[in-house]
């Protein structure tokens, strides 16, 4: 095994977030279920955007957010995902590269525009997401750069891409390359409804291809179709090498064989927007993991990054994560 060029390679949807405030009445009026991610088509995207208030655009995408966070901790990150050669695609590419992440996937030159996710942030700081996948959904095995996967300590996959069959093939290809090269594979379940749509396939994936599993409580209950966190905990034990389970303000539980850590959530002065909490937990965790730190420290770095991201709008960090990390390391 040659020396790794990247700590973590993320593969996921290349998305620009469009964030606006909304109240509960708006969610009801538009038939939006709070806190979850819904896939929408181009027509719905247009009509929903017309109803949306004044917005701001901040690059997003679950795995992309994670890799940007990893880079801001000081890790070497790379990303594979598909944008169109349009202005939003240019914004996505600029932002991820400006964060120090290697992102070389060529832009699509035809087909649908760059993906966007309309994020409605309610006064309770919850985010309700509506994603038009556009170009991102056309990610295929062709985009998987074999050398890049082989050169990455961990290849991190977001569950959201499971919604697109060619992207799923791309994931499986990446997982096989990683393992053939003695590397590890991580998966984030992304969303309980996403898990619901692909449960059998996720269970196979976790059992057969995943070394590190990231999931929040809802996703985990959905995956194992159980009622309590503790039941899920017993099920996930041994199902993969490491499981990092997040529980919002209750903190996180990290499992690996007989080892278990219960990590408190890091304090937040005011929760503004929970978009990206899971993505940034994974960023901190993977940074620590790729540097060979103990799982307890990995968990604490994850909690720190999650606390930073929910204290402001958007899912790209604003604070200097490497500086924040000094409190833990």
């Amino acid at each position: 095994m040659t020396a790794a060029r990247y700590d973590v390679l993320g593969i996921g949807n290349a998305i620009v977030d469009v964030l606006a405030r909304a109240d509960d009445a708006f969610l009801q009026q538009e038939g939006l279920e709070k806190g979850i991610m819904t896939l929408i088509d181009g027509h719905r995207a247009e009509s929903l955007y017309s109803a949306m208030g004044p917005a701001r655009e901040i690059s997003g995408g679950s795995a992309a957010n994670t890799i940007v966070g990893l880079g801001m901790f000081g890790g070497q990150g790379a990303f594979i995902g598909l944008v169109r050669n349009d202005q939003l695609g240019g914004i996505f590419r600029h932002d991820i590269r400006a964060s120090g992440v290697t992102f070389d996937t060529p832009s699509a030159v035809e087909g649908p525009p760059t993906a966007r996710c309309m994020v409605f942030v309610t006064p309770d700081a919850q985010r309700t997401m509506n994603t038009y996948l556009g170009a991102a959904v056309h990610l295929s095995p062709e985009e998987i750069d074999e050398e890049m996967v082989a050169a990455s300590k961990v290849t991190y996959l977001e569950g959201y891409l499971w919604d697109a069959p060619p992207a799923k093939e791309a994931y499986l290809k990446a997982a096989k390359i990683a393992h053939a090269n003695g590397r590890e594979v991580a998966l984030s379940l992304s969303d309980p409804f996403c898990v619901d749509r692909h449960r059998a396939s996720f269970l196979d994936l976790v059992a057969g291809h995943v070394d590190l599993l990231f999931a929040n409580e809802d996703e985990l209950l959905s995956l194992y179709e159980v009622e309590s966190f503790d039941e899920a905990l017993q099920r996930v034990r041994g199902h993969c090498k490491v499981a990092a389970l997040t529980r919002s303000e209750k903190g996180a539980v990290i499992l690996s064989g007989e080892e278990i850590h219960v990590i408190d959530a890091a304090p937040v002065e005011k929760v503004v927007d929970t978009t990206g909490a899971g993505d940034l937990f994974a960023a901190g965790f993977l940074y620590g993991y790729s540097k060979g730190l103990g799982l307890d420290l990995c968990g604490r770095l994850g909690a720190l990054a999650a606390a930073e991201i929910i204290s402001h709008y958007g899912a790209r960090p604003e604070a200097d994560l490497a500086e924040l990390a000094k409190a833990v390391l």
Copy 2:
């Protein structure tokens, strides 16, 4: 004179702001002068964007910010400005309309892309702006909707558009229509360097066509080529019907004939980004003015809106300005 359909019509550059943090070393390295607006061409825009950190996009444009603020106070606003039919143009149009502003100027279907302004925010909360005018610079008399001008109590012009000759003609056309219909014309000087580039022409404009002048201290000193605020104050007296002069943390001075008001700045917990302070002062002032309030109240509404905008990133308000205004009204 028929009843006015709009309180204020803004005419200005239709711009999307691209905001990122930067430190003083970055400004020096890129040869950027802190606190001012520099016009750049497409090539420079590309190279500067490459050097810029991760950014967020928030609709901007000086007069556009003012009209959006006016709308958020509860005023009826309209805007004339030119975008291209591209994704950034779509974002600009969405955001201004979602704020309740009437914006019907057709998009350009050829020529340069929608204007953008790269805003570098330093740790001292100052903003240094680099504007690629793109489509906005092609605003011409053709875009001036005569009925819209005639139906607006005040037509508000931003000095920045003076950099483009056809836009200047558009302004003069709008000013003439406004006055022919018994309406008023307001001008914001925008920037001391902009005043420097067009001093003679601004002096003629103020003397011949402007009822309400908005200027900050630097702009005013530049306009009259004097050394102190008090000297400038003596010069502007009688030069136009109303002058609203802003002095950052020193507050504002409002002049009209023999009437004078000295308004304190509204308190701000933490100044985050001064982008849009002048634009939003004008918003509050014009809201009060168009509703027939006393000039002291107009000034206090301006100070409130300026305080709101500098407490967060971007030049579009986040708080409910109509709610904030209750403290004053």
